[in-house]
Amino acid sequence: MTDVTSQPPRPVDPPAAPARRSLLIEDPRTRRRNAAERRFRAYGVVAIALAMGALVFLLFTIFRDGTSAFFQTYARIPVAIEAQVVDPAGNRDPAEMQKVLTMGYGKLLDNSLAAYVEANGIEIEGLDDRDLSSFFSAQARADLRNAVLANPELVGTVIETPVMTSSRIDGMFKGRVSRESAAIDAKTSVAQYDLAMAMEDRGDLQTRFNWDFVTSTDSSDNRPEAAGLGVAILGSFYMMLIVLVLSLPIGVAASIYLEEFAPKNRLTDLIEVNISNLAAVPSIVFGILGLAVFINFAGLPRSAPIVGGLVLTLMTLPTIIISTRAALKAVPPSIRDAALGVGASRMQTMFHHVLPLAMPGILTGTIIGLAQALGETAPLLLIGMVAFVTTYPSAPPEGFLDPASALPVQVFNWTQRADPAFFERASGAIIVLLVFLLAMNLLAITLRRKFERRW
C-alpha cells in the first residue's frame, strides 16, 4: 500500500496533538480501509462458499445418480428345475451336467416365468418369448447353475428363490425406464413393463438393499445388474496400503534430508526443482515407468496391486515432499535454536520438535496425495490394472500379487459401457470411493487437528 491519499496527512514534524476524534465515528480513510477489510473478508467467504457449493453440487449429483446402485429388484417365483434341461443324460452325473452351459439355464427361468404368468392369470397383450427370456438377469442363470451343480438333488424339484431381474426391469423401479421409453427401447418392451408392474402389484417383485453391489465382482456388459465392487475395493485397499506405508515415510524422510540436512548447493537445488517437476509429470508416464521398471525389469506380475501401489507411490511422493518441505520451512528457526542449544542433535531436533510442528502440513500433503492416488486411473492403464477381473485377490501378502482392479478403474470402465444401468453403478462406485477416501483420511484429519497450533 503505497497509495498516497487525498486526505491531508497528519503533521509529523512536530507531532502536534491531533484533533480529538471519536472512536465511534470512522474517519473517511478508516472507512475506506474497513470497507477493503470487509471486501477482503467477503472474498474469503465467497471463496469458501464457491468451494463448498461446488462440493455440495458434485456430491448431490453423485448421490442422486448413485444411490440407486445400492438397490436391486428381485423376483420371487417358483422355479422348476427341469431334468431334461439341466441333465439331458439323465444320470445326475455332475461331469455330464456341467456340459450344460449357463445359457441353457435360461430356459428354466423362461418356462418358470411363463408358468407364473399363466398361474396368476396375468394377461398382457404382446407378451412374447423375448420379453420372458430377457426378464431375468443373465446372472440368475449362472446362480441357478451353480446351485444345481452344487446340489444335484435339486434336479426335478421346484424351488422358490429370489431371482435377479435384468437391468431394464430393475430400471423400471428406479425411474430409469418408463412405459414410454420401454416402447422404443430395443432391450425391453411395453409388455415387459406391464408384466413387471403386474408382478409388483402381486408383491412378487421386490427392490431391496443390495450388498452384492459392494461385495461381488465385476460382470460383463450383458449383466450390469450383477456388477459389484468387491475386487475393486480389495485392489484399492491393497494399493493404498502400499502407498501409505511407502510414500509417507519415504516422502517425509526425503523432505527432511533435503530441507534440513542436505548442503545447500547446485545439486540440491537440482533435486528440489526435480521433485516439483515430478509432480507435473502426467500420471500416465508413471504407468510407462512402472511397466518398464516393475514389470519388465523386476519381473512383478501384471495387474497386481503391488505394482499399482508402487507406481502410485512414486506418483504421490512429490505431493508429500512438496507439502512437507513447505511445512518444515514454516517452522520458526528459534525452535531449532532452542533444541540445539540444549545439546539436542539435529536428528533429535528434527524428530522431537520440528516434525511435530510440521505435522499438519505433512498430513495435508498425505491427505491430498492419497486422495489423488486413490482416484487415479491413467497410470494403472499400462500396468494392467484397468481390467476386467472377476476373481478376488487372496489375503495379503499373496494378494498383493494377484490380479485386481481398483475403484477408479471400475468407475472408468463402467462409464464407458453401453448399458445405461452401468452409469448408475459408476455413480454408486464413486460413493463407495468417497466413503473409502473419508475412512482413509479420518485418522489423518483428526491427527492434524491435534497437531495444529500457533506459536
Binding site: 477493503a36 477489510e37 473478508r41 474469503g44 467467504v45 465467497v46 471463496a47 469458501i48 468451494a51 463448498m52 462440493l55 458434485l58 449429483t61 453423485i62 519415504i250 526425503a254 534430508y257 542436505a262 533435486i271 526435480n274 516439483s276 517437476n277 515430478l278 507435473a280 502426467p282 500420471s283 500416465i284 508416464v285 510407462i288 515407468l289 518398464a292 521398471v293 519381473g299 512414486l314 511422493l317 512429490p318 512438496i322 507439502s323 513447505a326 511445512a327 520451512k329 514454516a330 517452522v331 520458526p332 528459534s334 536428528m347 495435508t364 500433503g365 491427505i367 491430498i368 489423488q372 482416484g375 486411473t377 492403464l381 468407475v411 459408476a426 464413486i430 470411493l433 487437528r449 500457533r454
Partner: protein, 393 residues
C-alpha cells in the same frame, strides 16, 4: 519360506535386537544410564538397524535379481550375524547415537535419491522411444508445426504447438480459478474462521481433491459446457461449441482448489502470531496484516502449493477430454474446443494405431518435451521464491 515371511522374521529379529541392545547397554552401565554415552534406546536402535538393514537389502536384491531361492534364508542368517555384531559392539562409551544417526541419515539420503531415480527412470523410459520417433518424423515439424492431424494411413502432421497452446491456456484458466479461490479460502480458514468452522470446512474442501476426475469431466460435459455455450458463448457470438477451454479450465480449477487452499492454510497458520500482533498493533486492519505481513512470510509455501496445482493442471486428462474436447487448435477464443499435451499422450498411447508408428511414438516425444518444459517452469519458480522469500525470525 516366502520372502514375506522372511521379512517378518527379520523384523521380529530386529525387534528382539532392540530389546537386547537396550538391556545390554543398561546392564553394562551397571544400571546407571548416566554412565552411557548414548541413551539405551539408541543402543537398542543400533542393534535393530544392524539386524534389519543388511538383511532386508540382501533380501530385496535376491528378489530383484531373481537369485536362487536358497539365498533368501541367507538374508535371515545375515540378520542374525548383524545382531551379534552390533551386540558385541555395545559398550558404555560406544557412540550409539552417532552411529544410529549416521544410518538414519543414510536412509534419508536414499529416500531422497528415490526421487532422483524416478526422474532418471522416467527420462530413460521416454528418451529411447522419443529418439525412434525423431528418426521417423522431423523434429522441426514436431516442435514448430502448427498442425496436429494424426491419421492411420501415415502422412500425419504432428506439430505440438496447438497442444502446447491448449495446455497453457487451460492450465492458466484453471489456475485463475483455483489460486484466488483457494488462497482466499485458505486465508479465511486460517485467519477469520472459528476453529469449529475450519475443522469442518477444510476436510470438506479436501474431498474435492478426492472426487475422481471423471466426475468432473462429466460435470463439465453435461452441466458447465452447455451452460457456458448457451449463456455466454452464443450470446456473445464466440462460437457454439459445447466443449471449450473455458469449460475445462473452470472445472479443473474447481478440482484444484484444495491443493491451493489446504496447503496454504497450513503454511499461513504456521506464521508466528507475533508477526500478526506486530502489524495489528500498528493499527492495520486484519486484511492489511494478511496481505502485507502474513502472505509474504508464507510465500514459499504458497508458491509450492500453486506449483502443485499447476502441475496437476498440466497432467490432467479426463476433465480436458470431456470438457475441452479433442481438437488440437491454436485460437485465442476461450470458448472453442482445444486439447492438451497430456490428453494426446494418453490418447496416442491407448489408441488403435500401430504401436511402432510415429502416431504412437509421438506420445513419448510429447512426454519428454512436457518434462523439459515443466522443468524450466520450476526453475523459474525456484528463482522467484529465492528472490522474494521472507524468512521470519
Amino acid at each position: 519360506m516366502s520372502p514375506f515371511w522372511i521379512t517378518i522374521a527379520i523384523l521380529a529379529l530386529a525387534a528382539l535386537g532392540y530389546l537386547l541392545g537396550r538391556s545390554r547397554s543398561i546392564r553394562l552401565a551397571g544400571g546407571d544410564t548416566r554412565a552411557l554415552h548414548s541413551r539405551p534406546t539408541y543402543h537398542g536402535w543400533h542393534v535393530a538397524l544392524f539386524t534389519a538393514l543388511p538383511a532386508l537389502v540382501l533380501l530385496a536384491l535376491t528378489r530383484l535379481l531373481q537369485a536362487p531361492d536358497w539365498l533368501a534364508p541367507a538374508a535371515l542368517a545375515l540378520g542374525v550375524a548383524g545382531l551379534a555384531f552390533a551386540l558385541s559392539r555395545t559398550a558404555p562409551q560406544f557412540r550409539a547415537r552417532n552411529v544410529v544417526e549416521q544410518v538414519v541419515r543414510g536412509i534419508l539420503i536414499v529416500c531422497s535419491l528415490i526421487a532422483i531415480a524416478t526422474t532418471v527412470a522416467i527420462v530413460l523410459s521416454l528418451v529411447f522411444e522419443s529418439l525412434r520417433f525423431f528418426q521417423m518424423y522431423p523434429w522441426q515439424d514436431f516442435f514448430f508445426g502448427t498442425e496436429w492431424t494424426p491419421s492411420f494411413g501415415g502422412g500425419s502432421e504432428l506439430g505440438m504447438l496447438p497442444l502446447l497452446w491448449g495446455t497453457l491456456y487451460i492450465s492458466l484458466i484453471a489456475l485463475l480459478v483455483a489460486v484466488p479461490v483457494g488462497l482466499y479460502a485458505a486465508i479465511y480458514m486460517s485467519e477469520y474462521a472459528t476453529p469449529r468452522v475450519r475443522s469442518v470446512v477444510k476436510p470438506a474442501i479436501e474431498v474435492l481433491a478426492g472426487i475422481p476426475t471423471i466426475v468432473y469431466g462429466l460435470f463439465a460435459l453435461v452441466t458447465v459446457g452447455p451452460l457456458l455455450r448457451d449463456w455466454i458463448a452464443q450470446p456473445l457470438g464466440l462460437g457454439s461449441s459445447g466443449s471449450s477451454v473455458m469449460t475445462a479450465g473452470l472445472v479443473m480449477g474447481m478440482m484444484l482448489i484444495p491443493f491451493v487452499s489446504s496447503l496454504s492454510d497450513d503454511i499461513i497458520n504456521a506464521v508466528p502470531q507475533s508477526l500478526r500482533d506486530g502489524s495489528l498493533a500498528m493499527g492495520s486492519t486484519h486484511s492489511e496484516t494478511i496481505r502485507q505481513v502474513v502472505l509474504p512470510a508464507a510465500l514459499p509455501g504458497i508458491v509450492g502449493a500453486v506449483l502443485l496445482a499447476a502441475s496437476r493442471a498440466i497432467g490432467e486428462t479426463m476433465i480436458v477430454v470431456l470438457g475441452a474436447g479433442a481438437m488440437a487448435r491454436i485460437s485465442p477464443n476461450p470458448f472453442e474446443a482445444m486439447t492438451t499435451i497430456t490428453v494426446k499422450i494418453v490418447g496416442q498411447l491407448t489408441g488403435d494405431n500401430d504401436f511402432a508408428s510415429p502416431e504412437t511414438l509421438v506420445a513419448f516425444a510429447l512426454g519428454l518435451t512436457l518434462f523439459v518444459m515443466t522443468l524450466g517452469l520450476n526453475v523459474l519458480a525456484l528463482y522467484i521464491v529465492r528472490k522474494y522469500r521472507e524468512q521470519y525470525e
